[in-house]
Every structure is written in structure tokens, then in C-alpha cells.
């Protein structure tokens, strides 16, 4: 319990206003400000680090390995480590399941293809150094940035090995490696999926609820966004995971369609903002934060 009953009541009352009055004076569709740095881990194929104003911080590293396709069940594997939580705890397992599931089902796997037998496999390692609110969005945004800056070594041997075995060989020049976005077919854009968390208070939907807001929410929604549309899974969740939330209750189905409309309206901007970070980051080579 981080809030007293009086604080909870005050906060709830302000959030249920139309428009809601959020403690940090954000509007309903506004994210908390964040800082990000990409491609900073020297021995990873791609990496990103995001820090929120409240000190929440997450590092994601993407590493690639050449595998025989026939021996792998999945070409993406995620691993999540949240400081202060056991790896086998429900909290971490659910995060891991959500992220893995999202990426495995909504990822242009053809960018990983090498030959008819070999493929890259991505290992995505996420480290949540500290967090206050539910960290799924934070993780998902950092993963987005890391994947966008992931580069894979250039294959120089023959692509067709269905008839005659070839051992893949690669150019030793790192500068020749390709960004994933350069590997997708020309008419589509490489945009990995992201998760957006919404808080529900009365009729209001709040983007990216902070930890205090989470305490008084009536419900929470997790939606995913890929290729400029909202995709399944859409699920609800009690975001105040470390305390019991007495306000928590059922949800009006109308709110779901309302949330879809909201995402359609704002998610494009969110993704553009993230892409902006990467572009900006490339231009200035500086220290980490």
C-alpha cells in the first residue's frame, strides 16, 4: 500500500473527471517522458536502453546465432530478468510469455532467413533494472528499439543449399552487416510489434499509467500494435500487481472498442517518436545518457 485511503480517494476522484486530471498533469493519451540510447552494447547485434523520469530503467540486447532451421522450434527466444523478482516467479513468467508470444506471432521471420537450411535465431535478453509501474510497455518499447538497431552479418556464400550442402560463410566486415529493416521486402516496413498498457477509470482510458495511478484503477488493458493496426491478444490485467486494489472491477465492453480507437489515433505517433529516437541517436555519438 503506497497510498493512504484519503490519497486514494483524492486520486480516484481526479482521474474520473472528464477530461481526467492526472497527478503529473499528463493528458489521457500522453506517455511519461523517456530517454533512450540505442546500439551501445559493443558485442551485441542490437541493443537499447530506456529510462523513465521516475527512474525505471530497462536494457535490451539482441544477439543472433546461425542455426539449422530444422532443429529449432522458434527463431526468437526472449529472456527477461527483473531485479528483485525470481526468474520463475509468476510476475516474470507472465511478462516473458507475453513478450515471447507477441514477437513470435507477429514478426517478419523472413528477415532472418539465410539459406534454405540455415537461418538466424534471435536471442532477446531484457534486463529491467528498476521499475515502479507495470514494466511490460517499458520492455516492449526497449525491445522495439533494440530490434530496429539490430544488424546481422552479411552472408557471402550461396543462398540456395537445398540440393547441395553449403556451410554459410560471412563477410568479416561489420560495416557490411545489414539492418533488419534492410532485409524486409521493399514494399513493407520493418516495425516490430509493441505493447501498450491502458488504465481504466470510469469511462476514461489512461495511457501508460504511473504507479500511483495503478493503485486506483478500476481495470487495466494490454493491447498490442503491429503494422499500423491493433492486433490480438488484447487482455485485461490488474496492473497494481504488488498490492490489492479495492477499486478493481469488471469492465464495460464499450471501453474496448474505445481503446481500439484511441490506439489507432495515437500509436502511429508513438512509433514515429521511437523511430525519431533512433535517427537522432545515430547522428550524435556520445556516452550513454
Amino acid at each position: 500500500m503506497i497510498l493512504s485511503p484519503a490519497e486514494r480517494s483524492y486520486l480516484y476522484d481526479s482521474l474520473i473527471q472528464k477530461p481526467p486530471i492526472r497527478p503529473d498533469s499528463r493528458s489521457g493519451h500522453q506517455f511519461r517522458p523517456l530517454e533512450a540510447k540505442t546500439a551501445f552494447l559493443p558485442s551485441s547485434n542490437g541493443s537499447a536502453r530506456i529510462r523513465l523520469m521516475d527512474g525505471s530503467e530497462c536494457i535490451v540486447s539482441v544477439k543472433a546465432k546461425v542455426v539449422l532451421k530444422s532443429q529449432e522450434s522458434s527463431l526468437i527466444e526472449c529472456d527477461i530478468d527483473v531485479s528483485g523478482n525470481r526468474d520463475d516467479s509468476n510476475f516474470v513468467s507472465i511478462l516473458k510469455f507475453n513478450l515471447t508470444n507477441l514477437l513470435c506471432q507477429n514478426f517478419p521471420m523472413d528477415v532472418l532467413q539465410l539459406t534454405s537450411k540455415y537461418s538466424y535465431k534471435l536471442f532477446i535478453d531484457c534486463l529491467v533494472i528498476s521499475h515502479t509501474s507495470y514494466p511490460l510497455t517499458l520492455l516492449s518499447l526497449a525491445t522495439y528499439l533494440a530490434l530496429k538497431t539490430t544488424r546481422l552479418p552479411l552472408l557471402v556464400s550461396d543462398v540456395d543449399d537445398s540440393e547441395v550442402e553449403e556451410q554459410p560463410t560471412f563477410s568479416d566486415d561489420w560495416d557490411k552487416s545489414k539492418y533488419l529493416k534492410e532485409m524486409v521486402s521493399s514494399n513493407s516496413k520493418f516495425q516490430p510489434p509493441i505493447f501498450i498498457t491502458l488504465g481504466v477509470v470510469g469511462d476514461n482510458l489512461l495511457f501508460d499509467p504511473s504507479t500511483e495511478e495503478e493503485q486506483v484503477l478500476e481495470n487495466g488493458l494490454i493491447l498490442s500494435w503491429y503494422n499500423n493496426k491493433v492486433i490480438t491478444p488484447i487482455s485485461n490485467i490488474n496492473l497494481a500487481s504488488n498490492s490489492n486494489n479495492s477499486n478493481f472491477k469488471g469492465m464495460d465492453p464499450i471501453l474496448i472498442s474505445k481503446s481500439l480507437a484511441l490506439l489507432k489515433k495515437y500509436c502511429g505517433e508513438i512509433v514515429d517518436a521511437l523511430d525519431g529516437i533512433i535517427e537522432h541517436d545515430d547522428a550524435t555519438e556520445g556516452g550513454i545518457f
Binding site: 559493443p42 558485442s43 551485441s44 547485434n45 543472433a64 546465432k65 546461425v66 540455415y118 546481422l152 552479418p153 557471402v156 556464400s157 550461396d158 543449399d161 537445398s162 540440393e163 547441395v164 550442402e165 553449403e166 556451410q167 554459410p168 560463410t169 560471412f170 563477410s171 568479416d172 566486415d173 561489420w174 560495416d175 557490411k176 552487416s177 555519438e285
Partner: protein
Amino acid sequence: MIAKKQKLSSGLTVTSKVFVRSRNGGATKIVREHYLRNDIPCYSKLCHKCHTILKPDSKGELPRFILSESPTRLEKEGSIHYVVVDTNIILHCIDLLENVDCFYDVIIPQTVLEEVKNRSFPIYQRIRSLVKSDEKRFVVFHNEFSESTFIARAKNESSNDYNDRSIRQVAKWYAEHLQESNEDIKVLFITNDKDNLQKAKTEGIVDAYNLTDYIEELPNADVLRDLIPQTSNNESFSSSDANETSYPEYYSNSRVLGGLKNGTLYQGILNISSYNFLEGTVQVGAFKKPLLILGTKNLNRGFNGDAVIVELLPKDKWREPSTTIIEEEVIGADDNADDDGDEEIEFINDKERRLLAQEAIKETTAATSSTDGAHSRLQPTAKVVGVSRRSWRYYVGQIAPTSVSKDHDTGNSAKSCFVILMDKVLPKIRIRTRKAKELLGQRIVVAVDSWPSTSKYPQGHFVRCLGEIESAEAETEALLLEHDVEYRPFSKNVLDCLPKEGDSWVVPQDFETTTKRKDLRDKLVCSIDPPGCVDIDDALHAGILPNGNYEVGVHIADVTHFVKPNTALDSEGASRGTSVYLVDKRIDMLPMLLGTNLCSLKPYVERFAFSVIWELDEDANIVNVQYMKSVIKSREAFSYEKAQNRIDDPKQQDELTQSMRVLLKLSKKLKQKRLDAGALNLASPEVKVHMDSETSDPGEVEIKKLLETNSLVEEFMLFANISVARKIYDSYPQTAMLRRHAPPPATNFEVLNNMLAVRKPSMPTISLESSKSLADSLDRCNDPKDPYFNTLLRIMSTRCMMAAEYFPSGSYGYPEFRHYGLAVDIYTHFTSPIRRYCDVVAHRQLAGAIGYEMLDLSHRDKSKMELIVKNINKRHRNAQFAGRASIEYYVGQVMRNNESEQEGYVIKCFNNGIVVLVPKFGVEGLIKLELLGDVNSAEYDEDKFELKFKDFNNKERVIGVFDKVKVDVKSIKDEVTGKRKAQLILK
């Protein structure tokens, strides 16, 4: 990609390098920190500045300056110069770099050195030894670690371009740096890459040359012009030469690796048949029998000895090994070698290839178990699809007279001509030279540069001339080169490792207090060796102990006292591996001073020795054995004959003779025990050439005679070797230096037994169950009518044997240590450290085992021991071949003057010729069908090993294996190869 530089402390800057490591199909991003320093000097004695920045290395020594203050002058420019070379110059022109007439004061950028190392390790070693021996003043400049020459890789710059740019940076820096100290010096940048030259000019390096232009600048350009290798010239062979034929292109590296991994391609050493240059075999682990490779298309530019990648051919192309003799000179004369591998093979995929491989495994295993007829002779065939390592080295040969056209008189331009190599399993080599006319009739050395797929013959260049064909010097040097024997004099840094006192070195008198050596000077030691032996490495003594047992001592020259591990002397000995004995010459493994004086156990002087002393009972069983480093004083040095005479002379009753009699008695017991255990007595046609002492012309040939004293020494040496082997294996179970002789595989004897069964049905077959049964069955094979038959069979059996080999004990299990020929369970070489490197290692290990001194790390490390044995096994083999070739040459010279009729035996039968061995000279020769009689009448019966033909008198004759024949022996010079051979004519 290289990140920004960052200053760490004074004189040290760090940056990082990023690259992709592609290994075993994986791709890993690697980041390395890269440190830059500002204290790397230019190594030039001309420079005034670099002395101020020097820092001592880890041993506290300052770097030495090597580049001369007065290097050679350029002819036209008149200024003195240094040279910076690029990678391709080193790779293609290493011979020129080693030439004593040019290339002094050369700067090798580290970038170049590393590229050379990655591309060709042998050349890398040659360049390293050039740098090491200061004679030619080569220096390596570590440009990648120097702040002033390090450059960052530009975006999208290929690693080749980056390296080229780094090398140019070195040239540029050197030029500017030295200008400040001396106005006259020029630093020339030499590359054959046009693009690189162009870039050098635009970057402001004025003195960039290609090799040809540079050589023209030198005062002695005339001598050097011809030595410029082919590929380095931009002018290639004329277009008529190119495209004369086209070989299939090799598979890409990734395909080869993939194929090797999934078992559709195989790797092995290509072995060309010495009877048929169009037939090669590759022994591959997956199959019991070697794969056959037939025809030039399938051989696909492979040289004898290359490590090649092969692919199986479809089953309908599988063949029996040919029974026809084909020599290149025959077909090569009209340049029209027929190919049986011409038809295109339709594309097949990996699945089908795997089925084919299973088929082949079935075929080869079936063939060994069943013996039914033609089916078992069918062998899988394959084609070469890649060469993983070339065996190219220097080759000796001579220019084919037919390839030199008459218009060579006109003009001074280089013309191409063919060089026929002495080794007849190799193809002829095309070279370009201006001096073809002068070189006719000379033995010359050539190097192979390349073999493009469009050229029928490999391309090479002239290296040097050895002298006239058939002159003893030229022929001796030729055979040393052919067998890769290092015969150059020992270099200065090797000789520096010898004791300062030189010949006047004596055993220090305080050895008993300063070392753990035992004083054995009171023992009655003597040595028995061949007459005229100067490198005496063993001596013996014997005596009777108070308890009635015998004390026997074997004393071996203590070479390791002088040859300490990790010295230049040691590494030279390790690389030579063995001394090489030719008829008229000895190539030493260790410098003369050691071999013939300081180590040699000469009579009447004190010498250091390593002694093995046994206490033996009456039946020569070991009661006790001791090993010790010692000091001995040999009483006498006998020759075998002298020792024999002395033992046989009843008047000699002195102590020394008595002890020799003891030795003889015990040695006979030892020998009997060995024979009882099944030691083999095999034969090889060994002959000795008597030299006229004044003119050193070979006089006559005789078969070596053996005396009892020969076997006396031999028995005790074997005895010592076995005892030492046990001791060092006990102390160093993983790395003990041992020698094994594997039992012969049954397939080797298959043909011989078949021959016996067919040709001599009365003879028992040769049994292989154990060396004992083999020895017994050989003993039983006696033809009462022909006493030589048994020897002949022993000679032929010897050829079916495996070669004995050195190995570190960790590489085999104990049961495989067995020495089949000697019938002992464990064996090593300990008794000739002056002439064999194995013995040197065994000495060090024994010294370690008895606690005399610490054993060097390199002899306790299994992987290092593997490297040592690999080299000495190779050297040992080469030395044997060289020795035999030398005898063969001299026998040829002897026969030149003595044409005679001799008895011979047929040992092989082909469908167009027979091979006859003449015991008197120990020579064997091929008699082709054309020389036997009517070619068209010949019928070859493969099952009966006989050839039926009408001879020149139109008489029907049948000749089969084991037949005794009369032949005319004369020596003829083969006009094509310039080799003198025994020519046999059937009577």
C-alpha cells in the same frame, strides 16, 4: 569499424576494432580493444630521432636498429633506398626476396606479415627466418600499433582496401620520417597492383614502383630480370596459351565445408601412381580402400601430395585400378593426353550423393572380405573439387628441348617453354625465360606460381641453375632439393649456441662437485662402428660381477648437454630432424663441431655420455638397470672388421678383448630371444657403392656384408632403446617419445599371397596373424632350386609393411605401441642423438625421469610433441628416400661403364610391360612391351599374373611374376628427363 581513439595515459591510446568471425558456419560479432603506442622506432641506423623514444622490452633489452646507414643505390636516381613491400610481392616473389643479389633493407609492415601468415604459412615462415637472420636487413614494422601509422577503417571500406591503405601509410610515414634525418634516402613502395600504384601516386607517395620497374632500377637488373615470377608480371601468357583447355572450377569454400560436414565430400592427400601419371588415389577415412581418381579432368590440377577435396563419381564410372603404364613423357610429347573423364556428369544432389557413399562403403568393405574375381577389384572413383593445401615447393627439372623453338635466337624477349621435372608423377611446368637456350642441358630449379583453370599446365618461374645434368654436384643438390632436405650451412645464430672454446673444449674437471654426473672413466669402454666413422654416438663396456652376473653398459654421446631446449641450435636440429647420408656426402643434423668432436665418443679422450648399465644373468635376463649421465674415456674405436678379427684371434687375451667376447656372447642370446619372440628378418636390396678414393668416381657396386660384430652393436642398441622406452613411458605416460611399427594390413599382402598361390602353388601362403607367424611362414617359403627366391619374397614382403613411426605415448593405447618388426611391446630411439632428433628428445626425457634436470615444457606438452613427431617422421622418410636416390644415381654411373648380362626376377606384371629386379645392383627397372616384342600379339592374363607375347624372333613367350629371367643391364640417359636410368633388355 573502428571507434574513436581515446587517450589512456601518456604514450598509450586505445581504440576498438569490430569485426565478424565466421567459423563453423556461425557468425559472431567480435569487439577488440586496440592499443596504440608512440615508442615504436623506425629501426633505421640513419635516423637521429628514434633513439630518444626507445623503451626496453620485458627482458630489459632495447630494440636493435637494423636498416643500414648506407643501403644500395638506385642506378638511375642515384639515391640510396629502403623498400616497403606489399603482401602479393612477398607471396609471389619470396624467392627474389631471398635472393642474395637484391632486396636489402626491406621494411615489412605488420599488416603485410599477418596477411602473408593467413594466406600461406610456409612463406610466412620463410619471411620470418629472413627477418631473423640479419643478413638481408629485413625489419617488421608494427604499423597497426604505432600512433603515427595507424589509420581508422573508413566506412564501407573493404578489408583489402583498408590493408592496402595501411601499407601505403607506412611507406608514406617512413619517407617523411627519414627525410628529416637524411635528405638522400628514398623509401620505395613496391606493389604489382595497378590500382594500388595509382592510389599511392594520388596520395603523394612519389616512389611507388611495380616489381619489374624496380628491378630495372637496380644496377644488377640483368641477372634478376628472369627471376621475376609469372603472376607478378602484368603481362600474362599469350592468348593462344590461355583457353587451350579448361578444368572444372573448384567448389567454393562454403560448399566444401558444408560437403565435408554432411559427408558428401571427402578430404585426403592425393597420391599419383608412379606407373601411371593419370591415375591418383586418395585415402579417405570413410572407406577402407582408397578412392581412385582417373584422368586429367578428374585430377583437376591436383599435384602429388596436395591435400585435396574429392567427390564420388556415379557408380557406372567406378573402375578397376589400371594395369597399364602411362608416363607423361610418352603422351606429353605431342601434347595430347587422352582423357577418359571427358563426359559431363549430370547434376546430382546431396541425397543421391549420400546413397552413393553408402554404396561405396559397401563396395569397399565387401571387397576386403570376399575375394571373388573382378567384382572385388572394382573401386569407387572420385574427382577433385578443391585443393585445401598445395604441396608446392621448389622443383628440380630441365627444359624440354622440343619446347624451345628456333626463333629464340632473335631478340631478348622472354619466351615460354616447358620444364620437365625429375619427379615423374608431376606435370611439366611452363616458365618464361630469356635464357632458354643457355639453360638447355642444365639442371634447374623452378617454383610453381599458379595453375589457372584455363591453362593445361601449371605456370612457374625459373629460380636458379644447379649445373650441368649428370655432374655430381648438380645431381646431389637436385636430389637434396627433391627430398626437401635442408642442406644450407648452419646460420650464425645457430653456431653461436656452441661452446665458446670450440675444438679445444674439454670435460671440466670439477664435474663431480658441480653436477650429478657419475665418473665412469675406469670402465673399459670401446666403440665399434663402420670404418671411417667420425660421429661416434655409441660405445660399450662389459665385465663380470663378483656374483657371477654380467655388467653391461651402453654409453651414448651426451648431445643434450650441448643442445639445450629453446635455443636456435635446438630448433635447427628439430627442423632438420635427422642427418642425411648420401653416397658421397653427409648432411648433418647438428654442426660439425658437436657431431664429430665434442659429442663424438672418440677414443683416448674424456667425453660426456648418457649411460645405461644393466646387470644381466647368464641367460641375458635383466637383474637390474641403471641410467646415469656420466663421464667416460673410450679405450679404442674399432671398425666392425677389426673388432671381429680381434675377437676371433685366440692370441688376444687382454681385458678389452675379453669384455668384447662377453658382449658378443650376450648379444647372441639377446638375438635368439628376439627371434624366438617373432622378430622379423626382412630384406631390402641394399647395396654399397665403392668410391675411388682419389677421383671419387664410383668404382663398383656390392651388396652390403654383415659381420657378427654388426649384430653385436645392433642388439645392445635395441636393448638400450627398449629399456629407455620403458623408463620414459613410466615417467611421462602422455608425452614419452616412442616409436611404433603397426602390423601390416591384410590387404597389403592380398596381392602377394594371390601371386604366390597362382605362381608358386607349392609354397605356403604368408600368414599375418602375428610377426612370429609371418617370420615362420617366410622361413618356410624356400625354393630348393633357387636360394634367392626366399630373399626375393622378403624384399617383396618388406614393401607390404607399414612404415615405423615416432609418436608421443599419449596418442595411442598401450597395445598399439607394439613394434611389429622387432616384436617388442615398446620401443624408442635413444642411441644416435647426433644424427636423430628423436634421440635428443628421448635423452631429455630420460634425464628428467632420473631427476638429473627438469624436463623442458615443450616435451611435456602433448600438442607440441605431436608437432615434433610429425616433422621428424617426415624428415626421416625424406632422408631415406634421398639416400636411396643417391645410391640409385651412383649405381647408374657405375653401370654406365659396365654393361653386362645379369639375372633378374619379375616382380610385377602390367598389360604393357613388366618390372624386373636385378639383385646384383639392387636396381629394378620397367621393361615396356615395345622392347619385349610384338605389341599387338601381347595378351595379359590378370588372374595368372602373366604376359604372353611374341618376341622379336617371333617366338611365343610367357612371362609371369617370380620368373627368373636374364636381362642385359645398361645405363641410358633419358633425353626427356635427363635422368640416368637402368635400362633392362630381356634376353
